[in-house]
Amino acid sequence: MFEEPFRWMEAISTRHSYVQEKLAKGQPVIGVPYKEGALLLGFSPQPGKVFEVYDRIAMGGLGHPADVEKLRMTLLDMAHLEGFNRSAQDVTIARLLQFGIAPSLKQNFEEVMRAPYLAQLLLAELDPEGRPGFYRLNYDGYFEKLKNGGAIAGSEKVRKWIDKKVEETPFATFPLDKALKEVCKLWEEGKQQAVPKDEKNEVDDDTSITLKDAFEKWNLEAAVLCSKASKKSIYRTLDAKEIETLKSAVTKK
């Protein structure tokens, strides 16, 4: 069936459509710089949206939890082996993606008889000078560096809108509490972009969910890579108190 180039291209195209359809309802993860480092935030029905990968690297995932988990474990294995065999300084997202996971993902995606990975990742790191860097990895192995942060989202429209807003907002100058509030705002407004204007009153699924509903229905997961941390591992998840404070600040009318 795949001897003819057209058939293969058609199969790949169908595969793209299939994966995109599966990812469409994935909840966004937003990554931005803030005054002291980098912040990743997302809502999720089940625990497991934002994770620590290595001393200075964090990731957020979207898609099928089992596939996100496989990619997360692969990144963890690669990072820890590299950090052990060489040095923690040699563990960078660029190396993990370019020489590690991206080629494998591409190969997996183009082997059309294998199940594709239903996942997208957003990775963040702080370099030794404390400068944040962000990377987005697609299910087909394509990855890109995001200079000032960005998002992954099931809807391309939502993702582009949040990316644009992140680019326009001076997040790097914000303290953590302000950055958190702004990111939550972007999350809510971003999700509205997926709703066609004339259907706003009819849509009742997760697409038009408000922040208030999201806090009640799902778990908010947020973590920072903080340049001021005194320990080797600079990753820190927001604790229940911080999330409660954020919830009160962004849901009060």
Partner: protein
């Protein structure tokens, strides 16, 4: 690097992961002859004891090869994770490698399983490494006899474990010391605990630190393989603590003052 997401093994065991890549802690020892285990050199004094707020862990800085002093600024108390320290005595190459494996093991477990390894698991992990190293230890080229101290977050208390070079682990409820200088100070520790002004476990951090400095100076008086402090060169022993807040090393800038006070009588 194994970059294939299809081949993951979610055990959380970094040592297993290392082995899958072909790593062996003592890969090159198979053709060596069995040596005399009693001739193993242990040029070190490291010690640990319980004090009021947690555990004090300290060590001298000298590294020796036979009669030669090779290095005077060796750090023999190594952070393994936020709540654990390992004090090493024995062959530094093996000891440092074990510390690196342990450190990666605990962090890998915490990140992959999304929870910290239990204190019991941490204690056993070092025992497992020592057992892997039995061949090297018996051949007299890789013996390590460490002290492992950790704070158990669940039980809210610190623990000190002493290991023999074959991997047996012994929980120490008061104090322990290892290395060539340890026989000189074990008696002092016991004496201080039983008949000192206060039992060790009631000492304040400051008094515990002073005692640790004095013990290491004493060991250095009688054991040529234990390094003395040299304040004129800003060379001091390593003094550290483990409490509910994690580990803490006395910074270099504080050590001068601590050493001076420790050397005063009283």
């Amino acid at each position: 690097m194994n970059s294939n997401p299809d081949s993951f093994h979610p055990t959380g065991d970094f040592f297993e992961l290392l082995k899958r890549t072909g790593y062996h802690l003592n890969a090159s020892s198979s053709n060596l002859e069995v040596g005399d285990k009693f001739s193993v050199l242990q040029g070190t004094t490291v010690l640990a004891f319980h004090y009021k707020d947690g555990v004090m862990v300290a060590g001298d800085r000298r590294a020796t090869a036979g009669n030669a002093i090779m290095y005077e600024r060796c750090d023999k108390v190594i952070p393994i994770d936020e709540y654990s320290l390992m004090a090493i005595a024995g062959v530094p190459a093996t000891a440092f490698e074990m510390a690196r494996i342990l450190s990666h093991n605990f962090e890998y477990y915490r990140r992959s399983q999304m929870q910290s390894m239990s204190a019991e698991g941490k204690i056993r992990a070092l025992s497992k490494l020592l057992k892997e190293n039995v061949g090297m230890a018996l051949q007299g080229v890789g013996a390590v006899s460490p002290i492992f101290a950790t704070y158990d977050l669940k039980k809210q208390k610190p623990f000190i474990y002493f290991y023999d070079m074959l991997g047996a682990e012994f929980q120490m409820h008061t104090h322990c010391a290892t290395g060539s200088g340890s026989p000189m100070i074990r008696g002092i520790l016991e004496h201080e605990d039983l008949w000192g002004a206060k039992p060790l476990v009631e000492l304040s951090e400051n008094d515990a630190a002073k005692l640790a400095v004095r013990l290491l100076q004493t060991a250095a008086q009688f054991d040529s393989a234990t390094g003395q402090a040299r304040p004129e060169d800003k060379l001091f022993p390593v003094i550290s603590t483990i409490t509910a807040k994690g580990y803490h090393f006395f910074p270099d800038e504080d050590m001068g003052e601590l050493f001076k006070k420790s050397m005063d009588r009283g």
